[in-house]
Amino acid sequence: MTNNGITRRTLFAGGLGIAATGLLASCSTVTRSTDVKAINKAVALPDYVPWTGGPEPVLPKTSALMPSAFRRIPERLVPTAHKPGDGSTVHGSVPTNSPVPPTKGSNPYWQGLDERMGIDLDLTITPNADFGNKFATQVAGDTLGDVFTVFGSFPYLPQFLEAKAQNLTEHLSGSGVRDFPYLANLPTASWRGTVFSGGIYAVPVPRGPLTSQVLYRRQDLFEGLGVDPSFSSLDEFVQLCREVSDPHANRWALASVPTSILAPMLDLPNQWEHSGGTLTHMYELDAYQDLLDVSRRLIAEDLVHPDSITAYNGKVWLVQGSALMLSDTYSAIPGIVQQATPGSGFDLTTAPFVGPSGAKAKPWLGDPNNAITALAAAPDDRVRTLLEVLDWCASPFGTEAWMYRKFGIEGRDYEMQDGSPTLTKTGNSETALGEFPLQYFTECPLPLFYSGRPGMTDTVYESLASWLDDGLPNPTYGLYSPTNSTKGPAVGTYATNAINDILLGRAPVSSWKGVVRDWRRRGGDAMRAEYEEALQARAGS
């Protein structure tokens, strides 16, 4: 190096300079406030005004949380009053879990969305697994667009939203939301996830209780084996798994360890237990050690698919029959049913939840939102136009807009079969299997409706009705903890690795107490303190 006229010291200093430039470029807009009370300050949430202009649900609402249930599309759809857009281009950035649809030029369905919304919709679509990386670069490059999906795991989320997103409080808080009737139809629990630093910074992408986990069963395969799939205790459940598992026949009882199903049997809280103003994490309870013990036994006895931890593909295993039971969200049903070969006798049922020692089960209630959607800072009239567009995206079951969003153009994207719309091959592609990523702008509260499978509506309804009022929500949902935001992923990975070591027999269950001590030291205690402070702030303001 010396003969080039550059010393090692100069080279090192240059390297540091380059690294610092990169860091500053990525962080220049984000402040690092850690004032927990200020960040978690409350605001008047949008009024909840249920939409009553549509068809009556066919099954009664047994709980405030119960989605509206329908078996068929109504004969008369409610028309949309006007086009929400003003002809301008709306740039959006959204994730997708479905196939990426064809681009607008070769996608008449997408062109139809433009026509109906009165905008030129320009979407950047990123597969969900890669959305985090893409989002980080878009933030740094200021290329997020007008409307962008934000996941709760983004570090320094409140500070980011304050810097980059429009504060929507004056448009949506309290009665303001009534100008957007379909947004006013979104449940209050969903809006709680959009409040940061005393303002409403986003619109929810609601999923309601359908994000809760349930145990799916291949009823047809159980019947083929001559085994009754019911169980009323933890021991009976393990015994049932033993009866149907046969690794030599490429068949396992479970696609993965069903933690959310075992937890109610052991009376475990949904992540945190909130009692008398203090929080206790489920990791700290003796019952969690019992959960690890049962889970380990299930794996050791070959009752769980052997790739469940290293190469999980549960839906495919359930459909192929190599797993007879799968723990997944209620909203996973369409994806599971879609993979089943027509005429194969595929019959899906859900297992009832079981409580500890015969007591009533308190299943975990899923978080009410999939994500939130923020708007880029803009003048008032532009913001209201974008909110009109989101309002159209939230038009519920029974409206023409909902029908088009889900099924597209009749005769091209779908055909009516026995009174039910069925996507064609073209429709599957153009609408991304009925899940066009526009659904990540926002959605209506998800109805219980399974086109062409009216029986599924009753199956899911009965399952939800059996526990919704007793469901346990996560008490920290919608609260912000700076430690969780920055250290949460690393601390979570530490705990997950320790859990996997125990499940795979690489560490004894007794090692868990040491893991919890470490978990608390690494950030668990700090998160608890911040969440407790946040709970006080929300209660006091």
């Binding site: 390297g15 196939p99 597969p127 029959g321």
Partner: protein
């Protein structure tokens, strides 16, 4: 008295001379066995991928999605993905990026390496230091994105070529190779009236086929396998290369519908067969190129690596 002369006739040559340099038989057997096992470890997964892609639907479903040996041949998965849908388009994009990118990369790398290999080139020491800095300190995701954006390359195929057109490692290997070319050859060319470009194009490049073949393969494999830049820089999904499609449908497990595949067939092959067929399509082109360049490999890499 006549003197008698005795003539010694050499006996027959010992043709069964023992090879002292050869390792003993057990050692050779052990080596052979170890290589056999390593080959199996490498080839078995590939066999499974190919088998699953051509196995009948019923066998794939019965086996839970992965078949080690097909009970029959069913090319439905290949017919589906080559029917003009998303995979066919992505394959064309990947081929285009790989060919154009490799040519550009070889050209700029060879020019830079040649300039740095000639003693006395103006500023060569400083430029070499810059090249080494880029080897030691990667710029990172976000600065790269900002540069691509500032150059207006977002959503352009050039965003998949230009940011990775020059690899410092490859430049160093090429530079070392060029330094081995006898300077007398270059001086002779100059005496005959050749300029710098003439020497480079007519003397240096023809003598450097080995290193060009090896570095070309490095670049080609890099371009062929790249998906992350496409993920970051390409918003228009019609411009996605094959590896990004592969990632979406194989790693992320998204489903391919009939129209995605460009087929109008009613009965689609199992998802696993289609995924494995896409995998085979993504692996085979590089496998085909490899044997043609293998003979240049040792010479290209070793000559370039030893001389510093």
């Amino acid at each position: 008295m006549s003197a008698t002369r005795s003539v010694t006739v050499p006996g027959p040559r010992n043709t069964k001379r023992k090879r002292l340099d050869a390792p003993p038989l057990p050692g050779r057997m052990l080596t052979g066995f170890a290589l056999f096992v390593i080959c199996l470890v490498v080839l078995l997964p590939f066999l499974g991928i190919v088998s699953t892609s051509v196995a009948p639907t019923s066998q794939v479903n019965d086996a839970g999605g992965f078949v080690m040996w097909p009970k029959g041949l069913d090319f439905g998965a290949y017919e589906s993905i080559f029917a003009g849908g998303v995979v066919t388009r992505a394959l064309l994009v990947s081929v285009g990026i790989t060919v154009v990118g490799t040519v550009i990369s070889l050209f700029v790398s060879a020019m830079l390496a040649y300039a740095l290999s000639r003693p006395g080139s103006y500023g060569s020491g400083f430029i070499l230091s810059l090249v080494l800095v880029s080897l030691l300190f990667a710029p990172g995701l976000i600065p790269n994105y900002l540069v691509v954006k500032q150059f207006g390359l977002l959503d352009s195929y050039w965003a998949l070529i230009l940011p990775t057109a020059l690899s410092a490692f490859n430049v160093i290997v090429m530079r070392s190779f060029f330094m081995n070319i006898p300077k007398e050859l270059i001086e002779s060319a100059r005496i005959d009236g050749a300029g710098d470009f003439g020497v480079f194009l007519r003397i240096v490049l023809p003598l450097s086929k080995a290193v060009l073949a090896v570095i070309g393969l490095f670049y080609a494999v890099g371009y062929w396998n790249a998906f992350f830049n496409a993920l970051l820089y390409i918003n228009d999904t019609a411009k996605w290369p094959l590896q990004l499609v592969l990632r979406t449908y194989v790693i992320n497990n998204a489903q391919l519908g009939g129209a995605d595949l460009g087929t109008s067939s009613d009965a689609l092959p199992p998802q696993a067969s289609i995924q494995m067929a896409i995998l085979v399509v993504s692996i085979v082109p590089i496998l085909i190129v490899y044997p043609f360049l293998q003979r240049h490999f040792a010479k290209g890499v070793l000559t370039g690596a030893v001389k510093g």
